[in-house]
């Protein structure tokens, strides 16, 4: 307080200088810990690779080449990034509202299976064929709605009974994954003769999101996800709903006293979170796999938590961290091919990143950083 008062007394020239530097600091400060966490994780990862008898430099060179070394590498990085980005956005959205959505894995699977059903089943249901301009949005909408509805349940339970969303989102993962497994083995199973795989039929051509170039897998879902990140960022920052979500997240008591409908906001936040995650699953189906198959998810829903945290729950940050995760997952294959170092090392590094980001104080002490932003509140106690 004293310091702030004194800095306010600087003559004008000083004030503008310190204002500019303050603006730079505001921009750099939130990036410091995530960037240092990634670097530290890569350093420790290098130690792990060396201990396993590999050459860390060669491994990381292979990783880079695999992620960015060619048009195909770049295309695949974008393909991997898309689900990370959407699921990460969803989880970040919930965090902004003070809610910990651990249920992304289940919401993703339900989004995917709903989109798959809409992809192959809707035309028949509506008697005939649908134009792509209608079928694609409808399919995506189905996926988003499924995710939203599923995520809204723990939100509603929280406002109604005080049941904690952490427990309920985890529990609903099991329900969702088993339900999807049933659907894929039962009512929605691909009826092609001789099929023994738990998967849906292929979706109609009219439900498919196109690729840019025939030879590459990168599809229009990627720019769509980027656009959604911008939209979510604008919405949180500039709309009254976003302000309410952030206020409920920062202080539900103050939000209530200010006349905000905390209960409605909580349910809405979870639904929005689930919609984004479900859309992630839907895009995997409509743009990439063209069907849903049991076990298609590479753990996107859980990695999404790491993506959101590394991105500090800011949509711009989530774009960067999703790109990082996409690039690492994609490059890992090439790394393994070139150096015989198992791609699983990448999982270790991703886990380390999450560890360092979560243990923010550890990184600050390691690099002698002063001060620090307000501690990140991930979730509140029971019945909050």
């Amino acid at each position: 307080m004293q310091g702030a008062l004194r800095s306010g007394k600087f003559p004008d020239g000083h004030a503008s200088v310190s204002e500019t530097s303050a603006r730079v600091r505001r921009l750099v400060e939130p990036l410091t810990v995530p960037v240092l966490s990634v670097l530290t994780a890569l350093l420790v990862g290098a130690g792990v690779i060396a201990a396993a008898g590999g050459d860390p430099l060669a491994a990381y060179a292979g990783l880079l080449e695999g992620a960015f070394g060619s048009a195909r590498a770049l295309s695949e990085t974008a393909v991997w990034t898309t689900p990370y980005l959407l699921a990460g956005l969803g989880v970040a959205c919930a965090f902004q509202g003070g809610l910990f959505n651990i249920g992304a894995e289940g919401q993703l699977a339900l989004g995917a299976v709903a989109a798959a059903w809409a992809g192959y089943g809707l035309p028949a249901l509506l008697g005939g064929t649908l134009p792509a301009a209608l079928h694609v949005p409808l399919t995506l909408l189905c996926g988003a709605t499924a995710g939203a509805a599923w995520a809204a349940i723990p939100g509603w339970l929280k406002t109604r009974t005080g049941a904690h969303e952490v427990i309920n989102t985890i529990m609903l993962n099991y329900v969702a994954l088993n339900a999807v497994s049933y659907l894929l083995n039962g009512p929605l199973k691909d009826p092609t003769p001789g099929n023994v795989i738990a998967r849906t039929p292929l979706i109609a051509e009219s439900a498919r999101i196109p690729v840019f170039v025939d030879t590459l897998r990168v599809h229009w879902g990627f720019p769509l996800a980027l656009a959604l990140a911008a939209l979510v960022g604008w919405g949180l920052e500039r709309t009254t709903l976003g302000f309410a979500i952030r206020t409920v997240g920062a202080s539900p008591d103050a939000a209530r006293a200010a006349g905000m409908n905390v209960q409605r906001t909580v349910v809405l936040t979870m639904a929005m979170s689930g919609a984004l995650v479900g859309l992630g699953g839907a895009i995997e189906v409509t743009a990439l796999n063209h069907r849903h198959e049991l076990g298609f998810s590479q753990g996107y829903g859980f990695d999404a938590i790491a993506v959101a945290l590394l991105g500090r729950n800011h949509p711009g940050g989530v774009v960067l961290s999703a790109l990082l995760f996409g690039a690492m997952r994609n490059g890992a294959t090439r790394m393994q091919y070139l150096t015989q170092i198992p791609a699983d090392v990448i999982s270790v590094i991703q886990a380390l990143i999450l560890l360092f980001v979560a243990a923010d104080g550890l990184v600050r002490r390691l690099y002698r950083l002063r001060g620090g932003a307000a501690p990140l509140t991930l979730t509140r106690g029971w019945g909050g």
């Binding site: 307080m1 004293q2 310091g3 702030a4 008062l5 800095s7 306010g8 500039r238 709309t239 009254t240 709903l241 302000f243 309410a244 206020t247 920062a250 202080s251 008591d253 103050a254 939000a255 209530r256 006293a257 200010a258 006349g259 905000m260 409908n261 001060g371 307000a374």
Partner: protein, 540 residues
């Protein structure tokens, strides 16, 4: 709370009196010349906190057998200095001397070993334990095989309390005792550890005026037996009533040392704040209009489901201030929560400007013209991680001028904030400053600026100046009176009798969830209110 009250033995009579009146010791003679030697000394103590000097080369001398008040606003560095003298935080530089010897305090146990005891503002007692168990905690009396010996423990604590004139039942459970007696247990704890120097941090904050009087009697008794006492306070009346000498701190520095004889309240306030301060709110008589708030037979349960408000009825008219006086925890908090829509009543009826709002939501109440200065400003009034500007837009964040069609107008938010920051003289004068970095007084200004920046039908102000510096109190009181004069009905809930008397047109006294009496402010006396607050049913 006043000098006369503290010295008036009549005022000590309390309904739950259960100890001999003869324990009141005689007032000792004034300090002799030459002055007694120092018992505890701080020499050039400096302590840096992030962004500020909490203590800047502070010198402080406590002499043997005196009551020395350390006076200053919140954040002036009083508690930091005392925490240093009690070994809780180390100084960055400077020396501590105890009875002519330089000492180093690494922890409170060092301080205790040197005969220094401290009673913290928030008591460090275990509610489920008895008085004796609490006093002896850490120094338990054991019999054979290390078994506890409760009988001997109880006898020892009884002897200790009688020796020091601090009557208390050693076998009573601390949770069952009133706050004033709990404080006595804290003092006994320190005395049991052979404290010759006693530091009391804001000891009167939670007491009724009568309990304050009793505390001062106890302190004078301890002084007569040779204990040297430091009392930290920001209440001018109390400081003048009890202290032999007064050291005033401001912004981490000692600005002067004086005595109650040399400095009147106005002088002390000026020293504390650094400029002339208006101690009484300047206001004209009320011109009450129509009934705005009407509360009938209201019953409310607290968070534990226990009855907190038990059948309260009153009304507030436009253009008047109804003050609700009472010691903390007598149902005022729950009453204010119900009136602001944060809690549901179990029975009764509330109407605001003729409309039934018994179960209205905060939103509906705000729309009906309620402005609310909540008791817990950190929890209900502000979002600490938001800027001043965003906090100023909090209650009407979704309507013009702050938003239209669901999109926020950040330019309008900022423009309004710039104007309000100027009007209310907030420091720092920066709408982008985070509210978390503001002082208590400035945080409160943010809330008041926001709540009065729209048409006000009813202003509900709960403890509006708690933890607020003297300089800001003046501005806050002016704003409340201005709201009244512009035709708002004002319900003021405050545990500070001074505030109630300075602002109210009528005073309702709450005690144990009921309204003991509603008096005209011009007729109410401090003593009368004090007795009603303490639970007297009829006015004396």
């Amino acid at each position: 709370m006043t000098a006369d009250l503290a010295r008036d033995p009549e005022a000590h009579a309390r309904p739950d009196e259960d100890r001999p009146a003869s324990s009141t010791p005689s007032v000792p003679p004034p300090p002799s010349v030459p002055p007694p030697p120092p018992a505890l000394e701080a020499r050039a103590i400096t302590r840096r906190c992030p962004g500020a000097l909490a203590n800047d080369a502070v010198n402080f001398v406590l002499r043997e057998g005196e009551v020395h008040a350390l006076l200053g606003e919140n954040g002036a560095g009083k508690s930091t200095l005392m925490n240093i003298l009690y070994g809780m935080v180390p100084p960055d530089s400077g020396e501590i001397w105890r009875s002519g010897r330089r000492v180093t305090l690494r922890s409170p146990s060092d301080a205790i070993a040197l005969g220094i005891g401290m009673v913290h503002q928030h008591f460090m007692l275990i509610p489920g334990f008895t008085v004796a168990e609490n006093v002896l905690l850490g120094a338990e009396i054991t019999g054979r095989f290390g078994m506890l010996d409760p009988r001997r423990a109880s006898a020892e604590v009884r002897a200790l309390s009688e020796r020091h004139g601090l009557p208390v039942d050693p076998d009573a459970r601390v949770a069952d005792l009133p706050v004033g007696i709990q404080q006595r247990v804290e003092i006994l704890k320190a005395l049991h550890r052979k404290a010759e120097v006693l530091i009391l941090d804001e000891p009167t904050a939670v007491l009724t005026p009568q309990e304050v009087g009793e505390l001062f009697t106890v302190l004078r008794g301890l002084k007569a037996r040779g204990t040297s006492i430091v009392i930290i306070s920001h209440k001018l009346k109390e400081v003048r009533a009890v202290a032999d000498r007064i050291t005033v701190m401001r912004a981490g520095r000692v600005v002067g040392e004086t005595t109650p004889a040399e400095a009147d309240e106005q002088r002390l306030a000026t020293m504390m704040v650094g400029r002339e301060v208006l101690l009484t709110a300047d206001r004209s008589p009320a011109q009450p209009g129509d009934e705005v708030l009407r509360v009938r037979d209201l019953h409310v349960r607290d968070g534990q489901g226990l009855p907190a408000v038990r059948g309260v009825s009153f009304s507030v008219h436009a253009g008047e201030i109804l003050g609700i006086a009472g010691v903390q925890g007598n149902g005022q908090t729950e009453l204010a929560e119900v009136l602001s829509g944060l809690r549901r009543p179990t029975e009764g009826q509330i109407s605001l400007a003729g409309r039934d709002v018994t179960t209205a939501s905060p939103r509906a109440l705000i729309d009906a013209g309620l402005s609310h200065i909540p008791e817990d400003r950190q929890r209900h009034g502000l979002v600490a991680s938001y800027s001043v500007a965003d906090n100023l837009a909090l209650a009407t964040w979704n309507r013009p001028p702050f938003a239209a069609h669901g999109v926020r107008d950040e330019k309008a938010v900022r423009a309004r904030a710039e104007a309000l920051v100027k009007t209310y003289d907030m420091r720092p004068p920066n709408p982008d400053a985070l509210v978390a970095n503001l002082s208590g007084g400035n945080q409160q200004k943010v809330i008041i600026a926001r709540e009065l920046d729209r048409p006000v039908t009813l202003l509900l102000a709960s403890q509006p100046t708690r933890g607020v510096d003297v300089g800001s109190i003046e501005a806050i009181h002016r704003a409340i009176v201005a709201a009244r004069d512009s035709g708002a009905a004002v319900l003021l809930v405050s545990a500070e009798l001074d505030e109630i008397l300075a602002l109210s047109d009528r005073v309702a006294v709450m005690s144990r969830g009921e309204i003991a009496a509603i008096l005209d402010a011009s007729e109410a006396t401090r003593e009368q209110l004090g007795l009603l607050m303490a639970g007297a049913r009829t006015t004396p």
